[in-house]
Each structure stands twice: as C-alpha cells, then as structure tokens.
Amino acid sequence: MSVMSAAPIRLALPAVTQVRAPARRRFSLAGYRRFLSPLVLVLLWQAASMAGLVSPRVLAAPTTILASAWDLLISGELLYNMAVSLQRVAIGLAIGVSAGAVLAVASGLTRLGEDVVDAPMQMLRTLPFLALVPLFILWFGIGEVPKIGLVALGTTFPIYINLFAGIRGIEPKLLEAGRVFGLSRWGLIRHVILPGALPSGLVGLRYALGTAWLSLVVAEQINATAGIGYLINDARDFLRTDVIVVGLMVYAILGLSADALVRLGERRLLAWRPTLVGR
C-alpha cells in the first residue's frame, strides 16, 4: 500500500532513488496482480450468482459458502470431521513412511535386501494403487482399516523410491572417510548414510504427503461416517454445493499446511546444505 501512495512522489525524487524504485515497484505490483486476478474471479462468480446466472445447485455463491463455513465451524462439525480426516492421514502416513523407510534402508544397505525388496517394490509401484480400492474393501470391509490402509500404501512408495535412491547415492568417498576414522557399520549408517540420504528422504516425504491427501479423498468415498469426505458426500445428497466447496477448501488448506510444515522441517534439518547456508 505504501508503494501506491509513494508512486506519484517518486517522480520528484532525485535520480539515485529512482534507480532503486523500479525493482521494488515491479515486485509489489506483481504481488498485487497475483491476488487481484483470483479476487476478480470471485467477484465475477458472486455477481453471476446474484444475477441468477449460476444456480446454487451448480455452484453456491461465495458469500453462501463463507456463511456455511462459519456455521460448520461454530457447530463444531467442521473441526470434528477435519480431526477424523487428519487422524486417518496421520496414521496412514506414519505407517506408510515407516514401512517405506524400513524397506528402503533394508534394500539400500544390503545386497540381500535389494534382491528381496527392490524388485517387487519397483513392480508394485507401477500399479496405480488407487485401483486396489475394490480389493481393499473385500479384504478390510468398509471401516477405518481400508481408509488408513490406502493412505499407508500410497505413501510407502514415494518414501521408498526416494530414500533408496538417496542411500545409494551417498558419496563413496565420504563412506571411505568414515571407515578410515574408525566408524563401525552402525556408525557409518548413523553418521554418514542416513544423514546423507535425508534430503532425498524429505523429497519423498513431500511426494508422500501429496499422495496421502489423494488417497484420503478416494478412501473417504468408501462409505465414510465421518471425515471431510463424509461431509462432502453427505452434502451431495442434499445438493449443498456450498458445503462441498467448504470441504474442498479444507482439503486444500490441510494439504498446503502439511507441505509448509515439511518445508519448514527441511529448512531446519538441512541447514547444512550450501544452498541454504548462505541465506
């Protein structure tokens, strides 16, 4: 906002400041533009809804959506369902990440592990795991197990693939240095291999988060009685497009927050990386 008011004054300023000003102005204007176009779209949408061009059965008006979001929030319904969904993702992710990490370490560190683990993993990962939903329902019914299981399955592969690559990509010269300075096999794993594979592992985690939300969306279509997916399905039955959009927004917010969390963790855990060191 200060830039807006500063704009006319800038013309009167001496050349020195003028040299610096354009860069700042361009940056801020770009920032505004990024917010401006979605805002315009929302306003158009609102106008269209108010003019009766968009039926609420197709898409509710932004104001209606906001009001519904508020109601759901006040009633506690939103938070409850959010907690249920979050719990599914958290448990599924915990299982998937652990399984992926254990498998990656086993097959990354030993020949035997690679022979036993890597081939089936590479084959399985080509299978679109969401296609397993029918089998999961047959195996696990329609309770929490298939939902969590689907999230776990979907997250195992990205962790496995990336961590395995990370472990195999460790600089052999560093391993040698560790060996020459008396690190045991366990010491090598702890001080050289795992920290060295961590960057790839975190990339895997970010991919895993992506698939976790995707799995959740699909899993919550399976006869859920709670969770954001349930909220959405329930709303569909009552033609409540406003509630559906609220649910979608919650998915988006949860996904973005989780990603931000991992990136924060990355910044702390990988503070040693030359690219981050300079900042």
Partner: protein, 244 residues
C-alpha cells in the same frame, strides 16, 4: 599390526586387470620419520597409501605392518557436510568429551573460530585444515597424506607446510606424504621415495636442518636427481637409471 611404530611392507603386489600397479613392493619407514612419496601420475601412490590405510585389503602373500591408530588426509577434505566442523573432527572418537578434544585439535590448526561452522561454508584451505585436525585428533602413530595441499594456493600451502611440520614435531607420527611437488617433498621430508614400475625406484635422504630454506643451494642436486627419477629430461643431463 606390531607395536613398533614404523611401517613395514613386504612383497606387496596390486593389480587391476592387466595393469600391475604395485609389483612386489618392499618399503620400510622408520618410526617417527617424515617421508615423501613421489611418482608419475598413475604410478600407484594412492594405491599404496590406501593399502597402508587399510582401505583396500592387502593380498594374502604380502606382509604389511602398520602401527595404529592410522589417520589419513585425502586430497579433498572429505568432511561430512551435515556435521559442524567440530563434530567432523570428533568423528569416531571414543572419548568422554569429544568436543573438548576436537576444540583443541582445531585450535592447533588455527580454526578455533569455526568450530560450529558447516563444512560447506569453509574456504578450501580451512576445510583442508579441518581435515588435518580430524587426522591429528586421534594422535595417530601413522599419518598418511595424499596430496593434501594440491588444491591450495601457494600462500596457504606455505602456511600448511609450517603447520604440518609443527604438528609432526609435537606428535611425532610416522608420516607419509604423497605429492607431485619435488620442492614440497624436499622442504618437508627426511626421506623422499619415488615410485616407478610398481616399486620404490629411488630412495633419497634429505639431510638438511629445519627450518629449510627453499633457496638453499644444497637443494639443487637433490632436486635434479628427483626430477630425473621422475623422468623429467633436463637438457644437459643424461637420464641415469636410479638405484633403488
């Protein structure tokens, strides 16, 4: 492994495919000696060093006596980028207070101010000094240096020479330094070996007092002899077959 702090290698042969790099090599390093190892590129210097360091298994028919602990400074610093400098130095130390020992070692190489720095932020010379501290903190009986200063500028290299000599005098490890630089070898070592055709082809004593002055005329004949041994043709001199 013996209690004798010297190095003894007998009948060491190393072969990669058809390429016989070390051919029934024998060499003795007396305890506490400072020895330089010269040789053409690809002559097997690193191969010998790696065997002494235990990085490559020695063939069964070779006899190798090496004192422990052994420490190595590689051509590149090889610091773990995810550990701060002091933890790199303390790597693998079995000590109740590794930080204190790492601090002391880093103090000796003049890096007290970079204890907690990430290796990625060190300059080349600083990183190489940290690698030196990491080798010295274990108080090795055998110190192996593989072209440790090759990547440094002349000024830093001179400082590092002084540093290594100081540390060698204080801790007295048997020291073997691989280098391409004849002058560096003459400046530092008591004895200069030249590796050729898989054996020690030249074994030269440098009987000069320290600190040594590179402009000392006594260096001239030694330098010429080493250069000839390395196959550098000096215009007027005939290449003599050096005696082992």
């Amino acid at each position: 492994m013996s209690n004798n702090a010297g190095v003894s290698v007998r009948n060491l042969t190393r072969q990669f495919g058809e390429n016989r790099v070390l051919d029934a090599l024998d060499v003795e390093l007396e305890p506490g000696a400072f020895v330089a190892l010269l040789g053409r590129s690809g002559s097997g210097k690193t191969t010998l060093l790696r065997t002494l360091a235990g990085l490559d298994a020695a063939p069964a028919d070779a006899q190798i006596d090496v004192p422990t602990p052994t420490a190595v400074v590689f051509q590149e610093p090889r610091l773990l980028p995810w550990k701060p400098v002091w933890q790199n130095v303390a790597l693998g130390l079995a000590d109740p207070n590794p930080r204190r020992r790492a601090e002391a070692a880093l103090g000796e190489v003049g890096l007290s101010h970079r204890l907690d720095a990430w290796p990625g932020t060190l300059s080349g010379g600083e990183a190489q000094r940290a690698a030196l501290a990491r080798a010295l903190v274990r108080q090795p009986k055998l110190l192996l240096l593989d072209e440790p200063f090759a990547a440094l500028d002349a000024l830093t290299r001179m400082k590092m020479h002084g540093l290594v000599l100081d540390l060698w005098r204080t801790h007295a490890p048997t020291t073997l330094i691989v280098t391409h630089d004849v002058d560096e070898a003459l400046l530092l070592a008591d004895r200069v070996l030249v590796l050729e055709h898989g054996r020690i082809a030249t074994d030269l004593r440098v009987g000069m007092d320290r600190p040594r002055d590179p402009t000392n005329p006594g260096f001239g004949p030694l330098r010429a002899k080493l250069l000839r041994a390395l196959g550098v043709e000096l215009p007027a001199a005939r290449v003599l077959e050096p005696s082992a």
